[in-house]
Point group: C2
């Protein structure tokens, strides 16, 4: 079994270890929640100062052109694209994941409705265990479309393939589950959806920057995702949406704001969607939060998703091994798959007092998070997590559990 | 007629003059575009550093609670409320104006559809001259609703009252027109819409922080608006939406994301809207851009909308008088109403070469902007515009026009 010194040695020979220096991480904290809010790139402060003082303060209105504000959603989309197997001109960073889900689902439903052989399909399929906002946005869309549109919530992953059938218009799945860390087989499920005549949209919230994704190779139709988790874009930073070129001409959705117009400054009284990915835009974007997304993306230029994946799996293997070795008698239940191909970049354990235990861990400087019901999540972000962090975190977990140093009655107040 | 020295004297006895010190304005620039992008409050840089270094960098995920991120849309909404005649718990700062238009229109349509005596109404009424994104979002909504829903574009303000009829479900108007600076009579039009059985939504993009607004007293049903113009929230800062308490229980809209759920962290598989204004939220907000909205709102605590309105009208009266006195023979056409009650806080003139003239003005340090067709806009923001700025701007306009110091063939590239 690994000792702490073994972990120190692993860090010493880790080629990715220098990447940690790109981030500002507080002293005395082991941060295992990059799956919820990524750490701060050191460059973010300088970039913000430049946007505020030079671009906003001095450039004022001129910065829409001179500082490239208006083009920023597309420019950042092109920078993000290689991390998810997308091409130039297929991604924009804009709005929220929820809003982008709505756009992609609405467009997908419309494409199916306009296909004579598929126009009777009225079912949207997702998992009951999907992240709530995905479910809620699909409910909002289906309820609002009326005319028999409905959301089918599948109770277990094992039943998913069978639930995609001749009534299915669109399948919407999150690639890596936010609670369990289970990673779907994107290629197999996309192929199955297509074989059944459905389109498929993937939510990459826990995938982008966390696991290799190849949207084109794996046959996805649409994708959305988050920049403030593994991409380290900053709290609530704008989300992204991917529309492959093959679907762009038919991509129409009801959030038809002026930024998605073919000539936004011609001030025409009729909406005409822009050619290309621009039609996935809607309104004016929050430039300061948007600009800082680039600081997170910059770090990825120093490595590859493949290298990050190798370290991510090494970290999560180590975490699982150490927890089972040191806390095996402590009512912890591993939820995350052991199979590498089915695992994301966080590891979850259940505990009967999971909320209280996580609260105690945070008080002791090990920051993970808690998700109902009973799940403690530990994000293992390869950009800045050290092997020795994993060792120390498990050591503190062990102490916390052995000493029962947690308040069972702790009131839930953690927010992520 | 006023001399430059008269203007210097007006500034010397202007009780609002000290407010300019709250803003960072570049040397050598007369900024008359606060109606498009407000100037930078000096406090914005300090606030951004605090959000980035302390809240994000050190607080990390804990800041959702400890720094009040999750409550920020409501807290800022409560701070903004007094500027528009709204009450606590009726405003959230969130998403974009376009998205908020969609929410409010969709909710208004639904309320009408559920009223047995109004359920057959299928027409949304607005002006063809409304800001394009308002028109486009309504087109998107109507097109997707189908079932006969349609947008009626009224060609002239004079025809507006007659266009609101027994078929009208919802009226959507922008209080102050973005091109002309014309200010609608909110009370009269709201009363007329209600008399016709319609609901009415007001876009306050060019009103909030610019002119006194009293949504409750003037009978509005819903409102949206912008924080990055007269409220000085920063480029593309999140917008706001107002839902009065009397409509909150029936306010339901299809963008039903997790932030609008009654228990967002219970992770329930069914959407249940939050009680109160929280149901107007959707997804996770861009915290850095959102936080800086407060820096703009802080400045308003030092004055009142009534005091600002008096100065705004004095500035725009002066501007109109000086332009007509000094440039009266220069093909300029006043578009903005002379009547105070019908005027917003910017003044627009047409010129056959308006785009080229504005470009030349910007090159000479007078920053206004241009809107198709042929309109030059000059924003007269009372928080930081001096009377002497107005004098100097008109002097430079006069020189530019007299010397014909503009390139008629200038290619349009101005973006706002």
């Amino acid at each position: 079994m690994h000792t702490r010194n073994d972990c120190v040695a692993l860090d010493a020979r880790d080629a990715l270890a220098p990447l940690r220096a790109h981030f500002d991480l507080p002293e005395g904290v082991i941060y295992l929640d990059g799956n919820s809010l990524g750490a701060r790139p050191k460059s973010a402060l300088t970039r913000a100062e430049d946007v505020i003082v030079r671009e906003w303060g001095t450039g004022l209105i001129r910065s829409w052109n001179s500082a490239g504000w208006f083009e920023l959603p597309k420019r950042l989309g092109d920078r993000l694209a290689p991390l998810i197997g997308a091409h130039d001109g297929e991604v924009v960073v804009t709005d929220t994941t929820s809003i982008n889900i709505f756009k992609a689902l609405a467009a997908a439903v419309r494409i199916q409705a306009q296909n004579p052989s598929r126009s009777e399909r009225r079912v949207l399929v997702t998992e009951r265990s999907n992240f709530p906002t995905d479910v809620y946005m699909a409910q909002g869309l289906a309820g609002w479309l009326g005319r028999g549109y409905a959301l089918r919530l599948v109770d277990s992953t094992a039943d998913l393939r069978a639930a995609i059938d001749a009534d299915t218009a669109v399948v919407m799945l999150t690639h890596v589950n936010y609670r369990t860390g289970y990673q779907h087989d994107m290629a197999a499920l996309s192929a199955h959806a297509h074989a059944q005549g459905a389109l498929i949209m993937w939510d990459l919230a826990h995938s982008a920057g966390a696991v290799p994704v190849d949207l084109h190779a794996h046959g996805a139709d649409f994708a959305v995702g988050c920049t403030y988790k593994y991409l380290n874009g900053g709290p609530g930073a704008p989300a992204f949406i991917w529309v492959p070129k093959r679907h762009q001409a038919e991509f129409e959705q009801p959030l038809s704001g002026w930024w998605g117009h073919s000539e936004p400054f011609a001030m025409l009284p009729t909406f005409v969607p822009a050619q290309g990915i621009g039609r996935a835009l809607c309104g004016t974007q929050p430039m300061l939060s948007l600009a800082l997304v680039e600081c997170g993306l910059d770090v990825f230029a120093h490595t590859s998703m493949e290298a990050l994946r190798i370290k991510s799996l090494a970290l999560s293997d180590l975490f699982i091994d150490l927890v089972e070795a040191h806390c095996g008698d402590q009512q912890l239940g591993l939820v995350t798959p052991r199979a590498h191909a089915r695992r994301g970049s966080h590891v979850s354990f259940t505990h009967p007092h999971g909320y209280a235990v996580m609260k105690a861990l945070i008080d002791r400087g090990v920051i993970g998070d808690y998700r109902e019901p009973a799940i403690m999540r530990f994000g293992l972000t390869p950009l800045y997590t050290r092997f020795v962090d994993v060792w120390d975190a498990v050591d503190i977990l062990k102490q916390t559990l052995c000493e029962q140093a947690y308040e069972i009655a702790a009131v839930r107040d953690a927010v992520t």
